[in-house]
């Protein structure tokens, strides 16, 4: 569960990225965060991930305060959260299998566990046949699915995606969203910051709209933009 209480973020250069944001995301929810560029979507994600600290307010992730967390505890917070990026962030000199296994090596998983778990996750995202290929041999959609597998492999409670379909065509974007939906069906919380209007509109999930650092709407079974605006 993720709770924001009156959170503001002002960057050292004076940019007010978030102003008095309060929100609550329950376990197992599927949430879209929408809004124009510069509305504060990326900052919101960085705060959940504790890449940035809020200037004001309080944030709780799974019952733990981000502000009171010690630096050395941050890695353990991040193991509960899987990140997916617009630019995939795969290691080009490692195969699909190795890219996913990497995330497990980093947290010190057993080799036998890795051997068992990685193919399992790759099957889940439909890449079981491309395990030994390198990222550059894959299509954009396949690369993003590899990144999703990597985010998923350590069994996080939440997966956060920042513009996951920003570099993909519309059909591939749909595949990726279906992939997220399947993961969500198994109980993982999904938070997606996106510009993909059609997808948001047709998936009818919770939509949080940000504008100029403020939450302008928060609707369950919502759409990308209000009919009134």
């Amino acid at each position: 569960m993720i709770s924001f209480f009156n959170v503001s973020k002002v960057y050292p250069n004076g940019v007010k990225a978030l102003q008095g944001v309060s929100l609550q995301i329950e376990k197992g929810e599927f949430v879209f965060i929408v809004g124009p560029s510069g509305a504060g979507k990326s900052t919101l994600i960085k705060l959940i991930f504790r890449e940035e600290l809020p200037t004001k307010g309080q944030i709780y992730i799974n019952g733990r305060s981000i502000l009171r967390m010690k630096r050395r505890d941050v890695p353990y917070l991040r193991r509960q959260i899987g990140m997916v990026f617009q630019d995939f962030r795969l290691l080009p000199d490692r195969t699909v299998y190795e890219n996913v296994a990497f995330a497990m090596q980093v947290v010190g998983a057993k080799r036998s566990e890795i051997k068992k778990r990685v193919p399992e996750v790759l099957k889940m995202v439909g890449l079981e046949k491309r395990m030994d290929d390198y990222p550059l041999q894959l299509s954009g959609g396949e690369q993003q699915r590899t990144a999703i597998a990597r985010a998923l492999v350590n069994n996080p409670s939440t997966i956060i995606a920042d513009e996951p379909t920003g570099n993909l065509d519309i059909n591939t974007s749909w595949e990726i969203m279906e992939c997220f939906q399947e993961i969500n069906d198994k109980g993982t919380t999904i938070i997606i910051a996106t510009h993909a209007k059609e997808i948001v509109d047709s998936m009818r999930q919770r939509v949080i709209g940000l504008e100029r650092g403020k939450i302008v709407r928060d609707e369950h079974r919502g759409v990308y933009a209000n009919a009134t605006t």
Binding site: P75, R78, G82, R89, F102, A103, V107, G108
Partner: protein
């Protein structure tokens, strides 16, 4: 499984990964690593040369200093027994290390031995040489004071010693050598650290995506740091090893050459001293590698 055993297994698994990473990086960036080892070796070699220069100059200075002595000449009419009574008096002066009595007969004998029988003939019956006491002192800087004190003793005709100026100059010289040596060593030490830092920074820069991903998937700082730390240590160690090797052979050859030509020059050649210097260089190389890489990796941990 107890937590202790679990932690050990975790460490073991991570160690496996870390060594794999180090090996991978050392092979992948072999040219860069070669440069790092080379620069470390050069800086440590110069450092070693500096240290050897300083300790050798010290050694030479010490020998010259200990060679400074005061010759005390007795009045010609003083009987040898009376001259002998002066020796304990001189011995009692503070700063005097050793006195040797040379009687006028002994002095003449050594003169004759040096220059032949003509000396004896030209001298004739009467020995013109005075009784002499040779005085060694512990601190050559006090040579003036001690000499003046001895001169005041009854029965002393005159004293003679190596020029005060010479001693002064020698001291300022050895002091300068020490100061410059220390400066040189500090400077080169920093150069070495900087070079290793730069090299590991290049390695880290080449792998910044990897580090970034590591941080995102929840790697601890130490997990990220270890491979680079180890890499820095290995680079520093091999650099030092190379420097020590070159230093060992070139110094040995140099010493042999010098002692062929100027055999009296007191040079440091005890293997105990050399090994301590080499140990020191290896330790410095390792520390330089560790410090340099820690310095470089710090920036990339702040994600």
């Amino acid at each position: 499984m107890s937590t202790g055993v679990y932690m050990q297994m975790l460490l073991l698994r991570q160690a496996y990964y870390i060594f794999q990473e180090v090996g991978r990086s050392l092979i992948r960036n072999s040219l860069l690593n070669f440069a790092a080892v080379g620069t470390t070796a050069i800086s440590l070699f110069v450092l070693g040369v500096g240290v050897l220069l300083v300790i050798n100059t010290n050694e030479i200075a010490k020998t010259i200093e200990s060679d400074i002595e005061i010759m005390v000449y007795m009045r010609h009419n003083l009987a040898e027994e009376d001259a002998l009574t002066l020796e304990p008096l001189i011995d009692n002066i503070s700063g005097v290390q050793e006195t040797t009595f040379i009687s006028r007969d002994e002095a003449l004998k050594s003169l004759v031995k040096q220059f032949g029988d003509e000396v004896e003939e030209s001298v004739g019956e009467e020995n013109p040489l005075p009784d002499t006491i040779k005085v060694k002192i512990s601190d050559p800087r006090e040579v003036n004071k001690i000499a003046a004190e001895i001169e005041d003793l009854p029965g002393v005709e005159s004293v003679r010693y190596g020029g005060q100026d010479f001693v002064k100059k020698l001291f300022s010289l050895t002091n300068w050598v020490r100061i410059i040596g220390l400066l040189l060593i500090t400077l080169l030490g920093f150069c070495g650290i900087f070079l290793i830092a730069t090299t590991t920074r290049l390695t880290i820069f080449a792998r910044r995506r990897e580090i970034n991903i590591m941080k995102y998937v929840g790697a601890t700082d130490w997990f990220v740091r270890w491979p680079f730390l180890l890499e820095g240590i290995i680079l520093g160690f091999f650099g030092a090893l190379l420097a020590v090797g070159v230093l060992y052979f070139s110094y040995g050859a140099l010493i042999a050459k010098i002692q062929e030509t100027i055999s009296f020059l007191p040079l440091v050649n005890s293997s105990a001293v050399l090994f301590r210097i080499f140990e020191g260089l290896l330790a410095i190389g390792i520390v330089m590698g560790a410090v340099g890489s820690t310095f470089s990796v710090r920036r990339y941990l702040r994600v």
